[in-house]
């Protein structure tokens, strides 16, 4: 090899510049990743530090005190949130999964694509607009707020999340399995129900849990639909129900510092719930991907 050829191997000139650029991109993306993690740590950390002081068994099991008094708890908010999110899930999860099954298993591409687009747009609709829509649809004709109205709004928020994640998961089911089922003389709907859906079950549950986690903290629609409620633990969805996000919102607007601490504590409860749900969902998804050989 001549000296000239060796020169090409030296780190200088163009190669040096490319290496520097490479390093720069690497550092920038690492910093961005650290920032993203830091945001989560700071949010969770500060909520924990500020809220843990007010958190107690009493706080979790006592209804909110009357007329802006402090010393109450959030049991009514927990129950209300659970009822409203539960009803929303019962509405949105079956519909969302069916929509996904339709688009991935039955609809021709020229229909499936627009449906997918519509779901993405629906997912992008600001939730306050969903709230106003349901307000006009249910609260105005009825003349009062209700937990059910809030559930409908939350279901509308959940629907595209459930449907889109379910679509992703169903398309991951290997085509070879459906092919094998068809080749055995198993009808298509039966293949879908007995082969495709069970294979994707873990992922379908994951998508549903993530959607629940997402709407559990949804506040904007609840302000219109279920924010003026009677004291005490209510369980009747035809009435307005308390909820954790509304509790946080209202307590944080209070002039009393004790109420602020209670808002932090409620926020801690909410964030712990959402984190736990996310972790469970991820674990299930990992298991389900393994099953599908992905």
């Amino acid at each position: 090899m001549s000296a000239n050829q060796h020169a090409l191997l030296l780190d200088r000139g163009n190669l040096k510049r490319r290496n520097r650029f490479n390093k720069g991109v690497e550092v920038a993306s690492t910093v961005a990743a650290v920032l993203a993690v830091a945001v989560l740590v700071i949010v969770v950390g500060s909520v924990f530090l500020k809220g843990v002081g007010a958190l107690s068994w009493h706080f979790l099991t006592t209804p909110t005190a009357l007329f802006g008094e402090s010393g109450g708890g959030i049991s009514n908010s927990i129950v209300g949130s659970a009822i409203m999110v539960g009803i929303a899930a019962v509405i949105a999860i079956p519909v969302g999964i069916l929509v996904a099954i339709y688009t991935t298993e039955f609809a021709p591409a020229r229909i499936a694509h627009p449906v997918r687009l519509v779901l993405d747009i629906l997912n992008g609709v600001p939730t306050i607009i969903t709230g106003i829509f349901v307000y006009g649809l249910i609260v105005v004709p009825q003349g009062h707020q209700s937990g059910f109205a809030a559930s409908v709004a939350l279901a509308i928020v959940m629907l595209p999340i459930v449907a889109r994640t379910a679509q992703e998961v169903l398309t991951l089911v290997p085509g070879t399995l459906k092919e094998a089922a068809h080749a055995l003389g198993i009808a298509h709907w039966r293949t879908t129900v007995r082969i495709t859906i069970p294979t994707a079950a873990g992922g379908l549950i994951t998508g549903s849990l993530l959607a629940v986690a997402r709407v559990a903290g949804e506040t904007a629609p609840l302000i219109f639909l279920s924010s003026i409620f009677a004291p005490g633990v209510l369980t009747e969805p035809s009435q307005a129900l308390a909820s954790i996000p509304i509790f946080i919102f209202q307590s944080s607007e209070s002039p009393k510092p004790e109420a602020h601490t209670e808002a932090w504590a409620a926020a801690l409860v909410l964030i712990a719930f959402v984190l736990a749900l996310n972790i469970v969902a991820r674990a299930l998804y990992a298991r389900s991907r393994k099953r599908m050989g992905a």
Binding site: A181, A183, L184, G185, T191, I195, T199
Partner: protein
């Protein structure tokens, strides 16, 4: 181990029960034929009778959109023979085989023209139920694909269970199928283990058991050993020899030695056309067509 064919195996003694009721049009409930225009699917202990499971392709053409993948093939698959289809990649051999159980048309934009007759019955007749076709013509794929949510046993009986067989018959027929696929001894103690926990070769035999359980007339095998190691391949090839008494076997293979080992008849395809068909020995040693000779001697492909 010698897997080359025992000449006695391909002799007519493979037909223990000549059944006079071989006409599939009658669709008698007690005998084999599970397919008929009338749609009365028969089921029960199947004893193969002469002429059951003969497949005849008549001017078969298959397309993917505007691509003409199989061009005017006329071919006869005898019921007591193993037929191998060889040819270079993309020659249409898999496509042709997938026309026999009408899996070809599952693909978007794919269609087939011409006739595929099973015991004289045209499977492309508009009155024919496609699900019944798949039950009469089973298929084993390149990669073992047991259902991941099911146990070994449930995989074996999946075709039966999901097409409405009664619980009572599942136990026996699942066992029969696993015995038939030469898997019973290996899995009888772990029938409840997941099907995907078996080795690759065992999984492929499980797929064969699954196909056999619905008692097809014909078993299509699309390169069934291409994902397997030599030992597992040998096991499957032995199995093919055992199964030919029970079911007409059509095997697509990339491996010419495999065709030579397992097949009575070999078909050579090129560019969607049938070039030559003949007894395996003749096709490999004294082919009529130059293209066949060039292929089997390794000049291309």
């Amino acid at each position: 181990m010698d897997v080359s064919r025992d000449s006695s195996q391909s002799a007519p003694m493979t037909e223990p029960n000549p059944d006079p009721q071989a006409n599939p049009q009658t669709g008698s409930g007690s005998t084999g034929p599970s397919l008929s225009v009338a749609g009365s699917a028969g089921r029960g202990a199947v004893k193969r009778s002469r002429g059951e499971g003969t497949v005849e392709l008549k001017d078969l053409n298959a397309y993917y959109g505007s691509t003409h993948a199989v061009r005017g093939v006329d071919l006869h698959f005898a019921s007591d023979k193993v037929t191998a289809i060889i040819g270079p990649s993309g020659c249409g051999k898999s496509t042709m085989v997938r026309c026999i159980n009408r899996m070809h048309e599952e693909i978007d934009g794919a269609r087939a023209e011409g006739e595929v007759q099973l015991d004289g019955l045209n499977l492309y007749d508009p009155r024919i139920d496609i699900v019944a076709v798949r039950r009469a013509v089973g298929m084993v794929f390149q990669k073992p694909n047991p259902f991941p949510t099911m146990s070994v046993f449930d995989n074996a009986v999946s075709g039966l269970r999901l097409s409405g067989a009664s619980r009572g018959e599942l136990d026996d027929r699942g066992r029969e199928a696993l015995v038939g696929a030469g898997l019973w001894e290996e899995v009888k103690d772990r029938l409840k283990a997941p099907g995907v926990s078996l080795s690759g070769g065992q999984q492929q035999r499980l797929c064969i058991a699954r196909a056999l359980a619905v008692e097809p007339e014909v078993l299509l095998m699309d390169e069934p050993c291409s994902a397997l190691d030599p030992g597992a391949t040998l096991r499957i090839e032995e199995l093919i020899g055992e199964l030919q008494q029970q079911v007409t076997i059509v095997i697509v293979t990339h491996n010419m030695q495999q065709a030579a080992r397992v097949a009575d008849t070999t078909v050579f395809m090129l560019d969607g056309e049938l070039v030559e068909v003949g007894p395996t020995d003749k096709l490999f040693t004294a082919p009529d067509d130059d293209r066949t000779e060039h292929y089997v001697t390794g000049k291309f492909g």
